[in-house]
């Protein structure tokens, strides 16, 4: 039974991976990636790593893939022109040869060493090893520091993402002044052109259009901001 399950999941994983790189439509690529990740989760279950399997489904096949689908939906998932790498024939030949060489090397290494273990028992299984309960305990005892560092890493990654995303318009010193402080936020109406939700929805005219439409000030005055 386990063997059957292994081969189904294994074939699913490989087919999914091949699909990701060969399919032309990005939407199908994402779906192939989802099937690849689900098959991987099944393989993890076979290894009795329930936590990793669940994390794989929830985080990767779930959350991350939903993000991918959103991105594909935004930028348009239609037929994209095939990407042609800007390299000549000779370079592609060399790349192919290198790939072949690497493949042969990997085969030699795998056949020479890895397959020896196929008939053996494998690593001993200790009941409870890798179970969610044990992982939770380890995260709060032995691996407390890496766990906390990971939380700090997420914080600083979010800060970094904001830093990179905020100034895409290329605003300089003037933009600096337009940035809202917490105090100003509490005080009341936002200045024009700060990209507030009301601007995006068109309720009040945004910064760039402000000059072109004549009745900005009166509109703002009536509405009392956003």
């Amino acid at each position: 039974m386990a063997e059957l399950f292994f081969f189904i999941a294994g074939i699913g994983a490989i087919a999914g991976a091949v699909g990701v790189v060969t399919l032309r439509n990005p939407f199908y690529c994402v779906l192939a990636l989802v099937s690849h990740l689900l098959s991987l989760a099944a393989l993890f279950l076979l290894l009795r790593a329930e936590f990793v399997a669940a994390a794989q489904v929830i985080v990767y096949a779930g959350a991350v893939m939903v993000l991918y689908v959103f991105v594909v939906a935004y930028i348009g998932g239609g037929e994209q022109p095939a990407l042609r790498p800007p390299v000549g024939r000779g370079q592609r030949m060399i790349a192919g040869l290198c790939t072949l060489g690497l493949f042969a090397e990997l085969m030699v290494a795998t056949l020479g060493s890895g397959l020896k273990a196929i008939d053996s028992e494998g690593a001993p299984y200790r009941p409870g090893f890798g179970s969610p309960a044990q992982i939770g305990e380890l995260l709060l005892t032995k691996f407390l520091l890496p766990f906390e560092l990971a939380s700090f890493l997420l914080l600083i990654a979010a800060v970094g993402a904001v830093v990179l995303a905020r100034r895409r318009g290329g605003v300089g010193e003037a933009g600096d002044e337009r940035r809202m402080s917490a105090l100003e936020f509490a005080r009341g109406p936002a200045p024009l052109g700060v990209g507030s939700m009301a601007e995006a929805a068109g309720d009040i005219p945004g910064g760039v259009d402000a000059e072109s439409s004549g009745s900005v000030s009166s509109t703002i005055g009536e509405r009392g901001g956003w």
Binding site: P146, F152, R168
Partner: protein, 505 residues
């Protein structure tokens, strides 16, 4: 069975807590409205944080303890490297005081990223557990990717950030793959456990272990820019804001070599017969590639990037031999590398802000007559990087070569000497440009060295090089000379550090 909570030694953990807490404070203070707070108080707070962490290190000096169930090791090696990292961080704060990058990225965020990166480096050099090691590597790298791209209106800065992100991710992935193999082969994530497993069994020729070693060498090699994993270095160093380049060049190298020392000379010491020759070959390749690559460069930041590749080769020689002398030599060289590199980068920043030529070597023509003081500092830094006697670089190189010969790698010592001879060609070119060329009459109109700003214009007033940049240049330049003539304080420090890895002799 109720799980036992780990003992948290707050005193030992205090430098790390100081850096991370300082990052949060800087981030929050950066949100305040007044311009004075953002542009003066925030950098001052960042400086104070680095000073606090270094001071707490002085307080903890001499301790040899494991923290939080073996996640970190606080010993002289960790503290000495933390001083190097904090000094680099403080210099980077001063160098970016009037720079464009913090204004573009908002001051609070910029300095918080810098502090977090330094905290990640501290974790990396103190880690004695594979999981902590990887967490430290990521905590170091991710803020740096963002920092490289903080001059957002300059295309090359964005390019450098993206390149560093992609190549750094490949390095991280390779590294974690290697760590997984090491865990698989030895059955332990603790360095002590790995050491025990290698000691007690015939694991040394196990393919799993060898694969793990090879992959983790590649991963750390990416971070330390060891050839052939160095290709990103010139592009990223050239594109990043110069203060960040200085920080990356010194602190990242110190952190990566700290990890090298602890992982290879500590945990994997019994497998030295496996990785020793491989690392020695990599060191030799790195020295040759770095020095040859630097020969044709005209951009000084690219030149420093190639030079840092070559220096990584010299440093690797101290790791290869796996002796106490090698450990001491590596730490000594890292300290020396801090002085000479920061001095050079400070002068590069001065010229970058004064001339439209950017970091091109032409910006240095005739500097000896127009501004003798920066020219003198640059000269000292270049001579020290080349390893001329009476500078600290000479003592450092001498120490490394001595360690190589003592550890039966005499041929590697010869490669280092040959590499230094090659390096004279490009270091002296800079010196010659400063003292032997005429200063250009009028400011050159063709703006070659300074890349065009993406979507921006140049009408913003160019930030001048303030007193703080000159101060950094002077302090680190004088230190380069001082420790070249009186190296004994640094020697004593290195000898004390040598006692932290007890398995070496």
């Amino acid at each position: 069975m109720t799980p036992k909570a780990p003992i948290i030694d707050w005193a030992g953990l205090s430098p790390l807590v100081a850096l991370l807490g300082g990052a949060v404070i800087v981030l929050l203070v950066g949100l305040l409205r007044p311009r004075f707070v953002r542009e003066v108080i925030v950098p001052l707070l960042a400086l104070a944080t680095f000073a606090t962490a270094a001071g707490l290190g002085i307080w903890q000096w001499g301790e040899q303890i494991s923290l939080i169930s073996g996640a970190l090791r606080l010993d002289q090696l960790a503290i000495a490297l933390m001083w190097i990292i904090c000094a680099t961080g403080a210099a980077a704060v001063l160098l970016s005081w009037r720079a464009v990058a913090p204004r573009e990225a908002a001051h609070g965020e910029y300095y918080a990223l810098l502090l977090t990166s330094a905290a990640g480096m501290l974790v990396l050099v103190a880690a004695q557990n594979l999981v902590t090691l990887f967490a430290g590597l990521e905590l170091l790298s991710i803020p740096l990717y963002v920092l490289c791209a903080t001059e957002m209106r300059r295309e090359t800065s964005l390019e450098s950030g993206l390149k560093y992100l992609i190549i750094g991710s490949v390095g991280s992935a390779t590294f974690v793959y290697g760590l997984a193999f090491l865990y698989g082969a030895t059955g332990s994530t603790d360095f002590a456990g790995i050491d025990r497993a290698l000691n007690s069994s015939s694991l040394v020729s196990d393919p799993l272990l060898l694969t793990g070693i090879a992959l983790s060498v590649v991963g750390l090699g990416f971070k330390a820019s060891i050839a052939p994993f160095h290709q990103w270095t010139p592009d990223v160093y050239e594109g990043a804001p110069t203060p960040i380049t200085a920080f990356m060049a010194v602190a990242t190298k110190a952190a990566a070599f700290g990890a090298f020392l602890r992982l290879f000379d500590g945990a994997l010491l019994n497998a030295q017969a496996d990785w020793g020759p491989a690392l020695a070959a990599l060191a030799a390749i790195t020295i040759v590639v770095g020095n040859v690559g630097a020969l044709g460069q005209t951009s000084l930041k690219r030149l420093m990037a190639w030079s840092s590749v070559a220096q990584a080769g010299y440093l690797l020689a101290g790791v290869v031999v796996a002796t106490k002398l090698g450990l001491q030599a590596t730490v000594f060289y890292l300290a020396v590398y801090l002085f000479m590199n920061i001095a050079a980068f400070a002068v590069i920043i001065i010229r970058e802000r004064q001339t439209p030529l950017g970091d091109d070597i032409a910006a240095f023509a005739g500097l000896g007559t127009t501004a003798p003081l920066p020219a003198a500092v640059m000269t000292v830094a270049m001579l020290s990087l080349a390893g001329i006697p009476a500078t600290a670089g000479f003592i450092g190189k001498f120490y490394v070569i001595e360690a190589a010969i003592d550890g039966n790698y005499a041929w590697l010592g010869i490669v280092i000497v040959i590499g230094s001879m090659l390096s004279l060609a490009y270091y002296l070119r800079v010196v010659a440009a400063m003292w032997m060329l005429e200063a250009p009459e009028a400011p050159v109109s063709t703006v070659t060295g300074r890349p065009a700003l993406a979507g921006g214009d140049l009408d913003a007033p160019a930030p001048g090089a303030g007193i703080e940049v000159y101060a950094v240049a002077a302090v680190f330049g004088v230190a380069t000379l001082f420790f070249g003539i009186v190296p004994s304080p640094l020697f004593d420090l290195a000898v004390k550090v040598g006692s932290s890895l007890t398995s070496l002799f």
